[in-house]
Subunit: 508 residues, 2 copies
């Protein structure tokens, strides 16, 4: 196997097993790994490192690292290292249940960062120096060039900045992906930055491989292991309704001349609701669509296959096992239609604004005035993180937030008087959609927004309660620009914590 | 006077008095006016319109308009129109006491918008069509080109999009300013946008005048009236301390190699504290500084004069009467050092990120976790608006927020358990400074931020109360990532509403 995937003579001699490679990582190190939304993460070294940490802890010695990635990874990485209490700091995004438990228990310091900020902030020196990078590739070419796999994330930055590098060559990843990536090496630190030379989302502005000084590569590990490839749920009735409302709105915008007939480049968050929107677009009559997004998931592949979507630019995949099979089976078809970029480019404010992306992201809750909570359950417990939603919501053409109107079997209203945490402010939210309907907040003052959100988005079980709060706030609030009753503003969340439902007892 | 300032034959024939021009504006119109931070706003037509509205109301007839500007204006515009209840909608920013009173009484719908978003959202069709534009210029050239005055704001967009245009030619504005402006006509709607060809903040990428189809210009009004030119307070001890902390920090960043010796382009909000920072920079030993900002105020002129600042790019002036005199006296000197641009360019995310601006903005309050409230007193009463602070905080190199640690004679703590409104999220805030000290939040988790904010920024009178809240939240919060006690989170604000101070009674 080394012969077929490692074509650089010196690096072929650096092949070791995962345990030997992991042993290069010292306690306290800042370690930057590949991986974005469950794709392209190292499969073997993190688990070997976790085993090594567990042994060290068993001897009564301390061993924790600071861990940076592109975004979320998988049980073999975040899960394994959290399980052995091996993480002292984690950034910029994660979604692993074990790590989440540690974060919300107050045992793991988690930094929840805009995904477009990560690489530049590391370059700026805002974080520790990167001691070790661990990056998955599918092959090493004769000249040492590294062929990326199913995500790019921050790999360029990690390889540029790390003092030492461990490469995992994953035989499971198709070598035929060579040529799909577009790695832009034109970034610089201010005051030396220049315009990014991209006018269309499918422009290629970089090279197809990553580079790394071979002298820095301390170990090469061979793996043959699949990406996480989590299944998606089939589209349920509520998700289909949400998708329907949004697609009707987009058609209306085209009819009014506010959007071109083929829309503008779509950005779509990950999850069942965004996937339902993509499925809805497949049969919507739209053609020639474009996607300039972080992650492509099952629905995007289907849109590409049916020809509704012309291309998809992303930084990583989040496929179900079936979509992964489809991708591999028809790789020649997808090769010319998918471009994988560094996440600083996929999410770049300059490009998101220039291209005019339509940002479509999930949310946990929205409040009457259009503030969005994407991250915190009941104000204190983090779910995943903001990810790239802020990059697109602030800088794109249109920012859309999607959720069912209730959660946890109806015990939680996704529309609340005041959100318990703000990730997207009233200044950044154009459209809110639930299965109940769509609130178009553009051009509305706070009180006008409240009326739209209550009547179009709230679940009937909670609508009267919201209207009652709003009416009393309009009457009794200290001021009437953004009326609030402060002692009650967060009382729905507190009621859920105390009683298990946001419904007042009289209504139960 | 018309002869010396109006060189276009046809337009010279359109000169009318302000009352006749104002009579062109019909009830219900969407009217877009020039003006940014008290400079370059029309001086006569708004007052004539206000008189006309008052007469109409006196007859028992309705007359209100929707008003768009660049940013805040002056008593002659916002004040006059609010006074006669002539505004149905106001955007994107204002700071007039009369208008504020109407907004907080719930009588005037106010839309508080990122200043870089305004022009493009109007182009996108997110608002009503512009019926009338009222724009101040200093002269009309032979070919009909319009010479801008002390602010550019959204004037290019208003002139391009309005159905009819009223021009005020203000003799008070120096004609020698011709050549200082840089009006970029390369913007487009997506998908036709191209990179903005600017690499340095002093690059000129446009033309020196505004253009407008003379056939659209329905009236020209002659004025001779000064800009608002509000005085600044002399630098007080607290502002000087805030400036000192920030300048020490910037020097530290240079010493650590994280900033060039001449820093990066400075953006500075308007007000006494930012002005104190500029005054501090004058004697700090820095040289070759640059400013890429919205507004230049007194301190910037002093920095230019002393040679500490190489140039200042802005979209408007906010001078005191003395600074205005200085500017006029030495206009030849400032001509080559000041560039006035459209606000979509002065605040453009693409440029703010490329240039790596250092954003320095005031705030009303910050919370333990680094969320910033820039706009709402006690969660419901709007002060002014977010202005351009979000354009710079999200996309710049560094986002700094500044305030004294208390307000209203110590009855309000600017550091609170949870802010009562969020304008800048935890994801967007790098540094918080009060006269007590500076909290560097980069690379910190929420709880680490809380410790930094309490120990470095809180006033001693409130420090124990904040520490007590934080300790109990760390113990009793639902989850421990962002510990909060929801029934208490906004109790400091409620206590102020009820008792006039955030101090618990035991401490009074």
């Amino acid at each position: 196997m080394p012969d077929s995937r490692i074509h650089h003579a010196t690096l072929r001699q650096r092949v070791v097993d995962a345990a030997h490679a992991a042993a290069l990582i010292q306690p306290g190190e800042t370690v930057a790994m590949s991986g974005f939304t469950g794709s392209g993460y190292p499969k073997a070294v993190p688990q070997a490192l976790a085993a090594h940490i567990a042994q060290t802890h068993a001897r009564g010695e301390a061993f924790r690292i600071q861990l940076l990635t592109g975004a979320s990874t998988a049980p073999e990485l975040d899960g394994a290292l959290a399980q052995v209490d091996g993480l002292a700091m984690r950034m910029p995004f994660q979604s692993d249940p074990n790590a989440r438990k540690q974060i919300n228990a107050g045992k793991l310091d988690y930094l929840d960062i805009h995904l477009s900020h990560v690489a530049q902030h590391v370059w700026f020196g805002f974080y520790n120096e990167i001691d070790t990078a661990v990056v998955e590739v599918s092959a090493i070419l004769e000249d040492g060039a590294l062929v990326p796999t199913t995500s790019v994330g921050n790999n360029k930055t990690w390889l540029d900045l790390a003092k030492k590098v461990i490469i995992e060559v994953n035989q499971w990843q198709p070598v035929e992906m060579l040529g799909m990536h577009d790695i832009y090496y034109g970034t610089a630190l201010p005051p030396h930055r220049l315009p990014i030379p991209m006018a269309h989302g499918d422009d290629r502005i970089g090279q197809t491989t990553l580079r790394c000084d071979p002298d820095k590569i301390a170990a090469v590990v061979l793996t043959d292991a699949p990406d996480r490839n989590s299944p998606f749920n089939p589209v349920d009735a509520d998700s289909a309704r949400i998708a329907g409302h949004l697609i009707d709105f987009l058609k209306h915008e085209v009819a009014r001349g506010r959007l071109p007939a083929n829309l503008l480049p779509l950005q779509s968050g990950v999850g069942n609701i965004p996937n339902a929107v993509l499925a809805g677009l497949a049969s919507s009559g739209f053609h020639g669509l474009e996607a300039y997004t972080e992650v492509i998931q099952d629905g995007m592949l289907e849109l590409l296959k049916s020809g509704v979507l012309r291309y998809a630019s992303c930084t990583g995949f989040a496929f179900s096992p079936e979509a992964n099979e489809e991708f591999r089976r028809n790789l020649a078809f997808y090769r010319s239609r998918i471009i994988l970029r560094s996440q600083e480019i996929s999410n770049h404010p300059e490009l998101v604004r220039r291209l005019g992306c339509i940002g479509m992201n999930g949310m946990l809750e929205a409040d009457l005035y259009g503030n969005i909570n994407s991250t915190h359950v009941m104000g204190s417990s983090i779910m995943n993180g903001i990810g790239g939603s802020g990059d697109f919501a602030r800088n794109g053409f249109l920012s859309v937030f999607l959720s069912t109107s209730t959660a946890k079997h109806g015990s939680i209203s996704s529309i609340v008087p005041m959100v318990s945490h703000v990730d997207h402010t009233e200044h950044d939210v154009a459209v809110i959609v639930t299965e109940q309907g769509l609130a178009d907040l553009r051009g509305l003052s706070p009180k006008q927004r409240a009326r739209a959100v209550i009547s179009h988005c709230a679940h009937p079980d909670y609508r009267d309660g919201l209207q009652d709060y709003f009416d009393r706030a309009c009457r009794d609030s200290y001021a009437k620009h953004t009326p609030h009753l402060l002692p009650e503003a967060l009382s729905w969340h507190q009621r859920w914590l105390q009683t298990g439902t946001m419904q007042p007892s009289a209504n139960r």
